[in-house]
């Protein structure tokens, strides 16, 4: 579904040139959830920016759905590939109602039946139709991120790029949004690329993941390997040990929430 080979991105020019990606390669199969972890500045978000077409200055080969990607993306591409951003407070237009936010992509792609689509999208992300004419400032962080997910899904894309979709949310809401994303992925057989600095989130969602550091993928491994703490690369081991203390607490909290059942 997605093939990336020797992808390079350099920010700046001349003496101030700063290589953000130094030739990375990976492949994601259709219907797979692929994780990319790494500390901030490792270039993991840059990968998503290149894939989505937001960043146009790169070299290497990127193909999506067996079509090689070049500078500009056409409208059909945007219908196939959508993205959910990190900060739900920044990714929704402050002066647009939920209704307008959701119906705009429908209008851009001339899909028609805007009202029915908006109502269905709200239902799918578990938001009551009473939210339809609210402004983002009348919503909580979790509700906003649900709207952002609904906006990404209203075009019925097959690929969803997730840029730290839960890191701006508090822990209880994180689980809700992750469960929502997992459910939607199963129902619609979506392909996800999930970028996160949080190993627990990636382990929860993905089967395979890449560990990035300073613009290169240092290791690609499966979640089983991660769980058994058998990574080969010392940096991965360091990441795991750094997250262990937190990991256990998070796992316990998660178990409690799951036992209580899903609720707000």
């Amino acid at each position: 579904m997605i093939q990336v080979a020797n992808l390079q991105v350099v920010f700046g020019r001349g003496r101030r040139a700063n290589p953000a990606l130094r030739g990375i390669s990976f492949a994601v199969a259709a219907g797979e959830v692929y994780g990319i972890v790494g500390e901030s500045g490792s270039g993991k978000s840059t990968v998503l920016n290149v894939l989505s077409g937001l960043w146009r200055h790169w070299s290497g080969q990127v193909s999506i759905d067996d079509r090689p990607m070049a500078g500009r993306r056409d409208r059909a591409f945007h219908k196939e590939v959508q993205m959910v951003f990190q900060d739900p407070y920044g990714s929704l237009h402050p002066r647009h109602t939920v209704d307008r936010i959701l119906s705009e992509p429908v209008a851009i792609h001339r899909l028609g039946q805007s009202q029915a689509r908006v109502l269905r999208a709200l239902e799918e992300v578990g938001l009551d139709s009473a939210f339809r004419f609210r402004y983002p400032h009348q919503l909580s962080g979790g509700q906003r991120q649900r709207v952002a997910v609904a906006r990404a899904l209203i075009l019925e894309p097959r690929i969803l790029l997730l840029d730290e979709p839960t890191s701006a949310l508090d822990v209880s809401v994180q689980a809700e949004v992750l469960n929502l994303l997992t459910r939607l992925q199963r129902e619609r057989r979506l392909t996800y690329i999930l970028v996160s600095h949080d190993l627990a989130v990636v382990a929860h969602m993905c089967r395979r993941l890449a560990v990035m550091r300073r613009g290169v993928i240092v290791e690609e491994l499966t979640v089983e390997h991660l769980r058994q703490r058998r990574p080969r690369h010392p940096y991965t081991r360091q990441l795991i040990s750094a997250s262990i203390g937190y990991d256990r607490q998070a796992a316990e909290a998660q178990a409690e929430i799951d036992a209580e059942g899903e609720g707000d």
Binding site: M83, F85, Q86, G90, H93, P94, R95, I108, F133, Q138
Partner: protein
């Protein structure tokens, strides 16, 4: 925010209306928009001075609209037997050197003032907004080109540039309006560009681009609405300056021509009698002062309401 005691007893349609406006779950786009407007109004109304400013502007509009009914005398017909009368029961604000009633002239002059202010705002604000948002959004060469043009206009003092334009176009109120509009847009372009540059890189613009929105849709539907509030505030605060520039041009004989009752021209003709018949120049001066004050108070109030940072509450 709680309801004020004065409005509490009326529990009928008014309360229902308010509940409808403040509903957390609006049923339509219109209700959502009206609810927002109502909240903004409540916030605005908390500022007493701003309400006073709004009152002055509303009064100005009403006086201009009802000038033929309100004015006790004709504004232009001379009555040489009644020259330079002091304010009194017959002529509340006195008469000028041709015996014309100053109150009537000020009332009719309100129309000219409003005409100038409205036309300048209607011409300059959209031009500035368009140039600023396009420059800010496009960046690169277009940005440089548009901003250097803006810089050229900004390099001249406003009144001097307006004077140059009027003397090239010929005196008259329409030419004065064009001249003022031409000198008024550059600051708006600057503001709009600055706002656009901060908006351009936000995630909601990126999200819209990822949905396939083109540049026209982005600038018109996403960037402009956010620039609008700071622009409205700036235009309102500039109104006083526009009035003063128009009056200045009138004073110099380059704006409205006699016998039009333009306030600046009235001060100019009253200048000759400043020491003995002070009211001839002072009364239109007071009118300019009050209206300018009104626009400034209104602008301050609007700034409190429309400031994007106050939005979060």
């Amino acid at each position: 925010m709680t309801a004020t005691p004065a409005t509490r007893p009326q529990r009928g349609s008014l309360a229902r209306c308010r509940a409808w406006l403040l509903s957390a779950a609006p049923q339509s786009r219109r209700q959502a928009r009206l609810g927002r407007a109502y909240l903004a109004w409540r916030h605005f109304a908390e500022n007493r001075l701003a309400v006073v400013g709004l009152g002055i502007i509303v009064l100005l509009v009403a006086v201009a609209a009802l000038a033929p009914i309100l004015a006790p005398y004709s504004p232009n017909a001379p009555a040489l037997t009644q020259r330079l009368l002091a304010p009194g029961p017959a002529h509340w604000l006195g008469t000028d050197e041709l015996g014309r009633d100053i109150l009537s002239r000020i009332i009719f002059g309100a129309r000219l003032t409003l005409y100038v202010v409205a036309l300048v705002a209607v011409i300059a604000a959209p031009v500035g907004l368009l140039i600023g948002t396009i420059a800010g959004y496009a960046g690169g060469f277009l940005d440089t080109l548009l901003m250097r043009i803006t810089d050229i206009f900004l390099a001249f003092p406003k009144l001097i540039l307006a004077l140059a334009f009027v003397s090239a176009l010929g005196p008259g109120i329409e030419n004065a309006i064009i001249a003022i509009a031409v000198t008024a847009w550059p600051p708006y372009a600057r503001i709009a560009r600055a706002e656009t540059i901060t908006i351009r890189n936000t995630e909601f613009i990126k999200a819209a681009r990822l949905q396939g929105a083109g540049p026209v849709r982005l600038v018109w539907g996403h960037v402009m609405p956010l620039c609008l509030s700071s622009l409205i505030v700036r235009v309102t605060l500039d109104m006083a300056g526009i009035i003063l520039t128009a009056a200045g041009l009138g004073f110099l004989g380059l704006g409205a021509q006699p016998p039009l009752p333009e306030w600046g021209a009235m001060i100019s003709s009253g200048r000759k009698f400043m020491l003995d018949q002070w009211w001839v120049a002072a009364m239109p001066g007071v009118a300019i002062f009050i209206v300018s004050l009104g626009f400034n108070l209104l602008g301050d109030g609007l700034r409190d309401v429309l400031d994007p940072k106050a939005e979060e509450r």
